[in-house]
């Protein structure tokens, strides 16, 4: 082998080794960068978890304080009661204004419920809950709607069922922004609620009551909405067509 070719092959070897070294160096830099990203992500996850745990606790605390007003027709259990107190059938409805199946229940049964309340068969206890607040892009639609309903129950109880029906008739899509405060106010006015009562919605006077009753209801073992109880027994029949619930109420009345 001539000196010339030997030099050439060494140069080649050196060049290759240099490329290899550069590549390794770059590889180490990438690994280090990746490690930093992983570390940051882990920190972010932990921070996010701590924040979430903190806000969860503070919410429960606020709800259990239970300051603020209670609607005049509220029961101790956290319901809004309408109809004859001596009616033979007590019907409890647990609902959230954001819950699509509550809307279906309401659309199927509201006519019948209005009639049963009006003729004194049923004492209706509505539990407007706010647990679906997280489904309205941070606008807390469930709380705003429930607060408005509680305000109407307090100041204009005669319009409660009409307003309740209107809210479900114009129910917003779950996961959207919900209805705006103005839209809620307009529905209330259309349902016959006086303007001075509508003006009270914005104060959110009953928000603590809604929070407290939501917490209390879930303590009692309610799993979700809509849940309907007839004289304390959970109604397990079809909630989404007109008829079965009326039949069950009639049967309970006969007992």
């Amino acid at each position: 082998m001539s000196t010339q070719t030997r030099t050439k092959s060494r140069e080649l070897r050196d060049a290759r080794a240099a490329t290899e070294r550069r590549r390794k160096k770059r590889g180490r830099a990438i690994v280090a960068g990746g490690g930093v990203i992983i570390g940051c992500l882990l920190v972010a996850i932990v921070i996010s978890l701590i924040n979430a745990a903190g806000s969860g606790n503070s919410r429960t605390a606020a709800a259990s304080q239970g300051e603020g007003a209670t609607p005049a027709i509220a029961t101790a259990g956290g319901a809004l009661a309408v109809g004859d107190a001596a009616a033979p059938v007590k019907l409890e409805v647990y609902l959230d204004y954001m819950c699509p199946f509550c809307g279906r229940f309401e659309r199927a049964n509201s006519g019948e419920l209005d009639r049963l309340v009006a003729d004194g068969t049923v004492r209706l206890e509505l539990y407007p809950l706010s647990f679906l607040d997280r489904m309205s892009n941070g606008t807390d639609y469930s709380t705003r709607a429930a607060n408005a309903v509680a305000t109407v129950a307090d100041h204009a109880p005669g319009k409660l069922l009409a307003f309740n029906t209107a809210l479900f008739a114009h129910q917003p899509a779950e996961g959207g922004d919900g209805l705006s405060d103005d839209e809620i106010a307009e529905l209330a006015r259309d349902a016959g609620v006086p303007q001075d009562v509508v003006n009270l919605f914005a104060g959110r006077v009953f928000q603590p009551w809604v929070e407290a009753s939501t917490a209390a209801v879930f303590q009692t073992g309610i799993q979700g909405t809509p849940t309907v109880k007839i004289n304390g027994e959970v109604f397990t029949g079809d909630l989404y067509t007109t008829g079965p619930l009326t039949a069950a109420v009639t049967a309970a009345e006969g007992e």
Binding site: V31, R59, L132
Partner: protein, 206 residues
Amino acid sequence: MAVLLARLHGLRHSNAWLFGTMLVSACLSLAASFVLSADALRLAADPGTSLSCDINAVISCGTVATSWQAQLFGFPNAFLGLVAEPVVITIAVASLGGVRFPRWFMFAAQAVYTLGVIFAYWLFSQSMLVIGALCPWCLLVTVSTTLVFTTLTHVNIRDGNLFLPPRAQAAAARFVEADLDAIAVTIWLLVLILAVVTKYGSALFG
């Protein structure tokens, strides 16, 4: 330490590890698809029924399962998992047993599974951003689909099954050989966790 690292490196590129991971992930995915399919049938029979995982408003398979996205092709999406995952399980078991599939076969598996991953992440984003509810079984599908996809890709890059141009193949092989894919997958999964925790953290503690 160096020996241990070298051994770990060797294990990570071995058939046993890769197809083992693929097998376990595919089995998890199949189990989740089975639960979701069963739930879909129960829900079709009785729309008001509450499902095994309806823990609260946010952690709710029912909310997700009743959305139109849950039946994109006119039947519950989970049926696709029931069809596809057994094929992955078969490939993993056969490969663990020493079978070597032809390049075109592995390439086809990669192509189809890539569509599956895209679909899984479309569903994940819909459930996060549009439906706004979290479904634990769906999340299990997302994670295990990711793991099957990454191990399948790892195998196919290692074995040169992807019909890439020589330079791209060499670059991909170097990437995997340097274990950078492990870092990429870790980051990928952590981003997923962060997204879920950030959006739903308060619900997990609610």
